[in-house]
């Protein structure tokens, strides 16, 4: 393992040296716009989302640089991994702003990290475009330099629950969620409100903590209350454990599970096994979406990374595309001008469909409802 890495490193240094020598004449004319890329690539569930976003963003930036549409601007991505630790995210933001002097930041992966680190960017006047923060009200709480392309839970969940309640004639619901994560807590609040708005009594509310693997006690308690709908506020790994253990404990196949967007991951099916079948989620994108931009993206992504993109790659793509578009329109790396252009983007052809930002800097995209079938999520037919 190690010797190979050393060789790679040596090769990389050599390559860098050569490319620096070769590109000096060209680079002299180009103005480099630095973009901070803060995605979790190690550390549990968050890395599932972070790696996909990082891949897609890299793809978009490379394409933009190659296409020449930016004139004499050249984009440079500076990636740091925060290991899903929000203290680390804060350090990284400080470094990006003070030392690397980036024009904008893409990320961070987790809403919890965003709450900790985004205020630094807001204060410094550096626009941030997030692609996986879905906690309700995040952008309005953090400030006018914070944008996101991932539709917040309060945009998606009410419609999902309403549809599911109507379709299955739900009478009693139970909730289970993680109490030590901003996203899952926020999802819980939104889900609770949506259930109440539909007049569905919540017969059990259970919680767990990040890293928990045993949900049997909570699920046994839920089962005793006979709900016909179980709403999960959890990231992919915990959600998978919950649905699998629920089926093992004999919670009937007739009981419907609704999860958050975070469940949309191939890992969810790998870990959840048969329990993942029939789980319903709301989202902004799925692979079969009839959209030429999306189809081209899937092909490009798969050829470069040797596996198909998931929802987080799609979000990453659109976050990067909108930022690149704003930089193109601003024709500079000036953070203030980039922010002004971001605000003005409407109906840009993204992977998620026509996308832009609303007054709260949340994305304007149409949410869709998906259901787990044979190891993947497919469109849910609301009869």
């Amino acid at each position: 393992m190690l010797p190979i890495k050393k060789h790679l490193l040596a090769l990389g240094v050599l390559g860098l040296a050569i490319s620096t020598v070769l590109t000096i004449p060209a680079a002299a004319a180009a103005e480099v716009v630095k973009i901070g890329l803060v995605q979790t690539t190690t550390g549990g569930s968050a890395a599932l989302y972070g790696i996909e976003q990082k891949n897609a963003i890299q793809l978009v930036v490379d394409e933009a640089n190659a296409s020449g549409k930016l004139g004499d601007l050249k984009l440079e991505l500076i990636h740091y991994d925060d290991g899903a630790d929000r203290n680390q995210t804060v350090n990284i933001f400080q470094r990006l702003i003070a030392q690397d002097k980036v024009s904008a930041i893409l990320g961070p992966t987790l809403a919890t990290s965003a709450y900790a680190a985004d205020p630094l960017a807001q204060k410094a006047g550096i626009p941030v475009v997030a692609s996986s923060n879905t906690a309700a009200g995040l952008t309005t709480r953090l400030g006018d330099y914070i944008f996101r392309v991932s539709p917040p839970e309060d945009n998606v969940t009410p419609n999902v629950l309403k549809t599911v309640i109507g379709r299955y004639g739900v009478k009693r619901a139970a909730q289970i969620y993680g109490i030590d994560d901003q996203l899952t807590k926020s999802a819980y609040g939104v889900q609770k409100k949506a259930l109440e708005d539909n007049g569905i009594p919540i017969v059990a509310t259970e919680t767990f903590q990040r890293g928990d693997v045993d949900f049997a006690a909570q699920l046994t308690k839920i089962k005793a209350q006979n709900p016909d709908l179980i709403v999960i506020g959890a990231l992919a790994e915990e959600a998978a454990g919950i649905v699998r253990q629920a089926r093992q404990l004999g919670i009937s196949q007739k009981v419907v599970f609704v999860g958050t967007q975070s469940a949309i991951s191939t890992k969810f099916f790998e870990l959840g096994g048969a329990g993942a079948e029939g789980v319903i989620v709301g989202t902004a994108w799925f692979a079969e979406l009839d959209n030429p931009v999306s189809k081209a993206f899937i092909a490009n992504y798969a050829s470069r990374y040797k596996h198909p993109p998931d929802i987080y790659s799609a979000y990453g793509h659109d976050a990067a595309s909108l930022l690149v578009e704003a930089i193109r329109r601003a024709r500079s790396g000036d953070s203030k001008r980039i922010r002004a252009e971001l605000v003005g983007i409407r109906n840009y052809p993204g992977v998620l469909g026509p996308i832009g930002f609303d007054a709260n800097r949340d994305p304007t995209v149409q949410p869709k409802i998906l259901v787990g079938r044979n190891g993947r999520f497919v469109p849910f037919e609301a009869k």
Binding site: M1, T42, G43, G44, S45, A47, L48, I179, E206, T207, F208, Q209, G211, V213, D214, A216, A217, Q218, T220, K221, A224, E237, G241, R244, Q245, Q248, L249, G250, K267, E270, L271, G273
Partner: protein, 295 residues
């Protein structure tokens, strides 16, 4: 009543894994007076060893389980050979050993993280793993039974070795007083290695048990369990082997019952609060005596 029985089964299965882990933990403490904080990471290495053998080499669960025990035992043995033994021989303060064990723990996590990545992985489902016995409204899963039976067998074997064999007698003599053991001709250095191996093997067993029961093998799985094991060990009385087993069981049941009859958000608060209460009332733990009984 049905719910109570169901929760009891959930709690016993969870408690069985805690018990196996805590017994290894307390054995090391009781015999060698060492608190090895790398024990959680050794459990994790055992879980990964078992997972890799079933996934990559397609071994059935039982041989994987035994091999994982051997590998985890080997790691613990190496830790004595390379870290704790030399430290002790150079007369290092026992706190040095404690810090060294913490460092070893991080090292093991970092290595596994580098080799296998940070994503949670699961044991492949076997035909028998999904089986369920239904008694009225109570469901008993085959995996729960396997985990509980494995725990009982391990405890029985350990009890037999400690109580009925010459090696066990030697270990107990060493636990009583190393100098006495030396005097009566017990090969202390070799026995130390054996004790490390046993404790590591028990941690490895608990790792595979947790892995198959909850389908969640990750480089960080040892950190949670370390605290649980430590609590079970203290609950049962430091160095008291049967006490640790019962402590693990009590901890598992307390956790589950607190979810069932109080609130799930209070799970750890109640479990650790109960330990606090026990310690305040009986500082030597549930089964410890004032003069510590060892092994």
């Amino acid at each position: 009543m049905n719910v109570f029985l169901q929760q009891t089964i959930n709690g016993v299965a969870l408690g069985a894994t805690y018990a196996v882990f805590a017994v290894g933990f307390t054995l090391l403490f009781g015999v060698l007076n060492v608190l090895n904080l790398a024990q959680g990471s050794i459990l994790m290495v055992g879980a990964f060893a078992g997972l890799e053998l079933t996934l990559a080499l397609h071994w059935p669960l039982l041989p994987s389980f035994l091999a994982a025990m051997a590998i985890a035992g080997g790691i613990a043995l190496l830790s004595e050979l390379l870290v704790f033994g030399p430290l002790a021989r150079r007369g290092a303060n026992r706190w040095m050993g404690l810090v060294a064990s913490l460092a070893l723990s991080r090292l093991l996590i970092a290595i596994v993280q580098e080799v296998f990545g940070t994503q949670v992985r699961r044991f492949p489902p076997a035909p028998w793993t999904g089986h369920v016995w239904q008694f009225g409204a109570v469901r008993v899963q085959s995996l729960q039974v396997v985990v509980i039976v494995a725990a009982v067998v391990l405890m029985a074997v350990l009890a037999y070795v400690l109580r009925r064999t010459r090696v066990g007698l030697a270990i107990r003599t060493m636990a009583f007083r190393p100098s006495v053991a030396q005097l009566v001709g017990v090969p202390v250095a070799r026995l130390r290695l054996l004790t490390y191996f046993l404790t590591g093997a028990l941690a490895g067993a608990a790792g595979v048990q947790l892995g198959v029961l909850y389908d969640a093998v990750s480089p960080f799985m040892g950190e949670n369990i370390l605290l649980k094991g430590l609590s079970a060990l203290i609950l049962g009385g430091l160095g008291h082997v049967p006490g640790a087993a019962i402590g693990g069981l009590v901890l598992g049941l307390t956790e589950v019952y607190s979810v069932a009859y109080l609130q799930s958000s209070l799970r750890d608060a109640v479990a650790f609060g109960a330990i606090f209460l026990v310690l305040v009332c009986r500082p030597s733990g549930l089964f410890g005596t004032a003069t510590r009984q060892r092994a």
